[in-house]
């Protein structure tokens, strides 16, 4: 995995969210159509379905609504992924339906996104769904947000209406954790300000939607401070024909934070053993250093006990460790969360048992205020809980590191994924005073 020197093409992952008739699917259709990412057979298929269901008019939403039930009911059921590219960037779109199961779908579609587009109908302005989607984007710490004020043609391209909606947002944005917000007036149906600058909005000097997607800076979206390496798979060749491999013992995984260098000291957690990186092994030859999110195999100087679920860390920016945790969760299952119930918790590469010891609060989606001590968390609720795990976790606060600060809860028996969790920052970093790890 060598890093190319000149102008590589990178990938931007973005999520589109809006309520039922905000025109999300139309917007995606328009992006694909105007950036010439649609192919003739896709257009033919659209025209065929237009004859059947659309009274002869092409419905760009049919591009993303791929399942039969979706086309029949004119709705989007599940997260759909779409791909397109311009000479500057590749894009992965996750399109999430706005009506039923919205929290569940949006969390699925947006968890690894660099950017979220919240669609607002210019006629309706900010509604509860817009607030909810923005709140989830903030909770998931999506670094960039675009508020697309759609159907601006239906309010006669009026700047006052655009400003009104922007100030509606600006009233609650300070209570959220989104740093980069952009507002764009557009008409997905007619293509204004999507790919081409609209001649109807001379009062708007910002970029088009695609222009912004192509240029937004995402280079610093990964965590590069504080080495974290959850061991995924122990790499030990059986009966290798190459005698040099007889003693090979490597730890394979994806760097979940920071940078590691050959020759540096690392500590294995939770055991606390210290060793030195002998070699960073890859199929393409050894690396001098590896960084988040590269996948590598690390060999250590010493023969110590390391297995899946352990974490290698570096001496700087230490994580927390503990079996009593506080976290925000999005509840995703019809069976509500109850205090005292046991679940399986998957965090990085380790799965442990976890008991919910307290439900501290539930977020009120209208005011964003926490309501203390609710009885339960129901489907689509977001709340703060306290957990006790059967083994200590080595973790970071989600705000610091998405990969080491997140977990899912799994219901034993059905094996359903029932919650997405974001850990609060640890009260204190792990103690190292009894080791020689501190340099």
């Amino acid at each position: 995995m060598s890093v190319p020197a000149n102008h590589p093409i990178d990938i931007l992952r973005f999520n589109t969210c809006g309520s039922v008739d905000d025109g999300k699917s139309t917007l995606i259709g328009r992006l694909l159509y105007d950036s010439k990412s649609l192919m003739e057979d896709q257009l033919e298929a659209l025209e065929r379905s237009a004859d059947i269901t659309g009274k002869g008019q092409i419905n760009l939403a049919n591009l993303t609504d791929g399942l039969r039930a979706e086309r029949e009911q004119g709705i989007t059921i599940d997260v759909a992924y779409r791909y397109f590219a311009t000479p500057r960037r590749k894009f992965i779109i996750s399109d999430t339906p706005g009506h039923v199961q919205y929290t569940r779908n949006m969390v699925t579609g947006a968890s690894s996104a660099n950017l979220a587009i919240v669609l607002v109908d210019a006629r309706q302005g900010v509604i509860e769904q817009s607030r909810r989607h923005t709140c989830i984007a903030s909770l998931l710490r999506i670094p960039h947000l675009i508020v697309a004020v759609n159907k601006i043609d239906l309010v006669d391209w009026r700047e006052e209406r655009f400003i009104e909606i922007r100030s509606q947002f600006e009233q609650f944005l300070p209570r959220l954790d989104i740093k980069d917000v952009k507002f764009i007036p557009l008409s997905a149906l007619n293509g204004d300000n999507v790919v081409e600058t609209s001649r109807h909005t001379p009062w708007f000097s910002g970029p088009t939607l695609l222009g912004h997607l192509e240029s937004v800076h995402i280079g610093s979206d990964w965590n590069l401070s504080g080495f974290r390496f959850p061991v995924q798979w122990v790499n030990r060749p059986n009966n290798p024909s190459d005698p040099q491999l007889h003693d090979f013992r490597g730890y394979s995984g994806q760097v979940a934070g920071g940078i590691v260098r050959a020759g540096q000291k690392v500590m294995v957690l939770p055991s606390g053993q210290v060793s030195t990186v002998k070699r960073i092994w890859t199929l393409d030859g050894p690396l001098e250093e590896a960084f988040c999110p590269q996948s590598v195999t690390i060999e250590l100087q010493d023969d110590i006990d390391v297995s899946r679920g352990d974490m290698l860390i570096g001496p700087e920016n230490l994580p927390g460790a503990g079996d009593e945790l506080q976290a925000k969760v999005c509840w995703m299952h019809p069976r509500a969360l109850l205090r005292g119930k046991k679940y399986l918790l998957k965090h990085t590469t380790s799965t442990v048992q976890a008991m919910v010891t307290a439900i501290k609060s539930r977020v009120n989606m209208t005011t964003f205020e926490p309501e203390p001590e609710p009885q339960e968390l129901a489907m689509n609720d977001i709340g703060e809980i306290q957990l006790k795990t059967s083994r200590p976790l080595v973790y970071d606060g989600y705000a610091l590191n998405r990969l080491t600060g997140s977990f899912i809860l799994i219901e034993p028996g059905t094996n359903a994924t029932i919650a997405a969790g974001m850990l609060n920052a640890p009260q204190q970093a792990i103690h190292l005073e009894y080791t020689d790890f501190v340099i």
């Binding site: 990178d10 065929r48 993303t64 059921i77 280079g219 394979s252 999110p293 590469t349 997405a420």
Partner: protein, 300 residues
Amino acid sequence: MSNYYLDHLQYLETEAIHVMREVAAEFERPALMFSGGKDSICLLRLAEKAFRPSDIPMPFLNVDTGHHFPELNDFRDRRAAQLGARLIIRKVEDAIRQGIAVPAPGEVSRNRLQIPTLLAAIEEFRFDCCIGGARRDEEKARAKERFFSFRDSFGQWDPKNQRPEIWNLYNARLNPGENMRVFPLSNWTEQDVWEYIRREQLEVPTIYFSHRRKCVRRHGQWLPVTDLLPLKPNEEIHELVVRVRTIGDIISTGMVESRADNVDDIITEIAAARVTERGSRADDKSSEAAMEDRKKAGYF
């Protein structure tokens, strides 16, 4: 721009390696589906990247319809041998003889019959997970697929009730009899696949490159003339310079007229293409929801 930066292929690669290692760590008896096609060729390289210097810790599985291009099967066998992998082949032919797969009256295509053949192989070897090379950009039912796609004990996919998939935390837990299909190339496009083949200098079967072939025009496509696809009255043979863009059965794979005889030319051709890859697959055109229906029944 900092040096700590991955370009799009490196990003897709590390994502896919992570997925493959999760499979090796979380499942008891995984298999990797290898047909010899371009997507599964990328899967093999990713498996090498994920697991070397160890052996790839799972056998390769292929469902042979008996209607494969001979070039493809030769390539498949040779590549598996090079990697020292165990290659398991289960034939639709045998499944029909054993009554596992039953053709409808007059059914010539082996496409649907792959499903019971695959499910029987999963049962025979008690595979709990099959890694496949499907991509979300191929087809709109696939656009709704997860990386870890849960199948019930009948092998069925339920698109309305999929497990939420969050961050890179994959829920791999199964009850007995259930099965997972895992798609490490979910986020790859056709263009990415060819760019990866170029970067990694991977060998691909010769039918991807332009060559002379006897074809017949049928349903708007150029189909290869073989013993399995005899001419109908009024049809005539055309000798054309063609290649395949996607490989299905020899009786349903449309050949595209092309002069692209190397990987660079193919990448240029795809970049300029105005038709999708699966536009040349008759099996997807049978109805608007052809792929969805096959997937629900247990297709790859």
